[in-house]
Symmetry: C2
Subunit: 361 residues, 2 copies
Amino acid sequence: MTKFSFNLQKIHNKARLGVINTAHGEIRTPAFMPVGTRGTVKAMLPQNVKATGADILLGNTYHLMLKPGAERIAALGGLHKFMNWQAPILTDSGGFQVMSLSHLRKISEEGVVFSSHIDGSKHMLTPERSIEIQHLLGSTITMAFDECTPFPATFEQAKLSQELTSRWAKRSRDAFKIRDGYGQFGIVQGGIYPILRKISADDLSKLDFEGYALGGLAVGEGQELMFKVLDYASDMLPVNKPRYLMGVGKPSDIIGAVARGIDMFDCVIPTRSGRNGQAFTRGGTINIRNSKYADDNSPLDETCECEACKNYSKAYLHHLVRVGEILGSMLMTWHNLAYYQDLMNRIRAYIAEGKDFDFEA
Amino acid sequence: MTKFSFNLQKIHNKARLGVINTAHGEIRTPAFMPVGTRGTVKAMLPQNVKATGADILLGNTYHLMLKPGAERIAALGGLHKFMNWQAPILTDSGGFQVMSLSHLRKISEEGVVFSSHIDGSKHMLTPERSIEIQHLLGSTITMAFDECTPFPATFEQAKLSQELTSRWAKRSRDAFKIRDGYGQFGIVQGGIYPILRKISADDLSKLDFEGYALGGLAVGEGQELMFKVLDYASDMLPVNKPRYLMGVGKPSDIIGAVARGIDMFDCVIPTRSGRNGQAFTRGGTINIRNSKYADDNSPLDETCECEACKNYSKAYLHHLVRVGEILGSMLMTWHNLAYYQDLMNRIRAYIAEGKDFDFEA
């Protein structure tokens, strides 16, 4: 069986080039993970997501535990089979969505009791249950259950949150079933306070996770402050393990974070923006709903090889999105995912060649 | 250049096997045409529609003239290029939708004045304008502009409607630009009155269209009455020209109509039903929303080779449709279109072998 391992191939300034080996295949880093919240990357067939260059998807524990249910997915053969995705899957712990989506949540030392945002039904997530759910799903990479420190938070609030997260990380690690090719990542909290980030990183490093995430960022603090935290926080993480910045981000966020030592990203921006009619291109972002595209026979991006750019004009995409046709969501999403993976390709090529990122994205 | 022609290869009882040759390729008959109302077969990439076995699509003049506009599509290179479909396209005349969708319509000898159902803007459709629009779209097969006789209609109402349709058919034929590989079909009206159907068929036969449609059916009269009309009306049409039954239908409608001498069909049922969670299978129709499928790991149809049946379980489709994921619409539509084309394949094979249709669909 494949051992879960991280092969760090090159470091240029702080930017890192590597490969994560897993039971479900390789992940080239820096990596962008498309988000498949409810067992599907919205408006995409999985083989087409793969063909854009995605090595790994993210699945959401919170959504899947509610519908269709973790035990059900396990009985059906696991999430990989259920959604027809054979490559690696990382699942979040559910902690973030419990706090942002559910109702009537109550946090205790034990975990979080909450009511489903769908039907109001009561549920409890604890470190042990979160890890069990992710095991039932068959995740390649399981995330420790954390409390996502909000922004803004006072030092005292951030400290309590970081300490709870460290205790939950220990319980998450104890609950994780070690298997060849599968890994678990710890989540470092601490808000915008260097000393708390350091304590959190040290606490989690002792648990010897297969990777480390920075949590509590991209929650409203803005790019400048996020980069400030990354400037010191990524150095606090073990060098020989993958580093994952959760929920990030715009192309410029990703470029800046890679330059600060981050290896992995996930974000709904390319998929959600696509459905809303926004396309990322090398020439800048395009709002395809704008009436100036109604007669524009050129593709979204002349340099792009995706399905949308090879076969369709801006005028056609404009028409589809304006009248609300599903094919509009399909093609716009496809393009944005292709753009993001092309961005990661360019980033990896630059690190391999030892060049600084001279492109704006 | 390819001449537009119909090669009638075999007749078994009344069922006919043939091939229509066009500027954009062959159409094997009996043929089912998926509906691409607004320049897209909803939730499908065109190459995947083609791969299910569809030789030809239907486009809607009424919808496309309003959005994005016929002159615009012409300037962009025509409908084939616009929607990335290189095979034949048949466009309806707009007459049916004007009567069923638009507001404040007023019929005169000249044509129909109406207000758009989208924004209330005023438009006029005449035989000449309908044919011009279809020419601008670049239709492979243009339909004559008719008045669709409603059901029920008295003899006198049906007679007036049939006579107007005959006069409009003459104007439509005069307005049609003859080009190699392109054809125009006339539409026979007359309601449920044999004498009117006969007069209409004779009037239109004199205009020597490249094909003939039966209009004013599948408008609420029910299968039994429709089949009664087909029993005599299809015999009134020229033997050596394709016969098209507009807006039909359920699988059993198609089987019964082929047995009565019809060659071509179009209907939104497979696509619309798919988006609503209904699947057609050899074992009967399946409502995938039914909770009994939540844990069903088998495909929709074991005998089906479509994307949905090859790679996904009923449980997964149930989940997608229940939570409203776009991929649910994509896969259910794909399956239904594959089912319909498989049905046409079976029908053609039976005629080729001289067998009666012993299958229920």
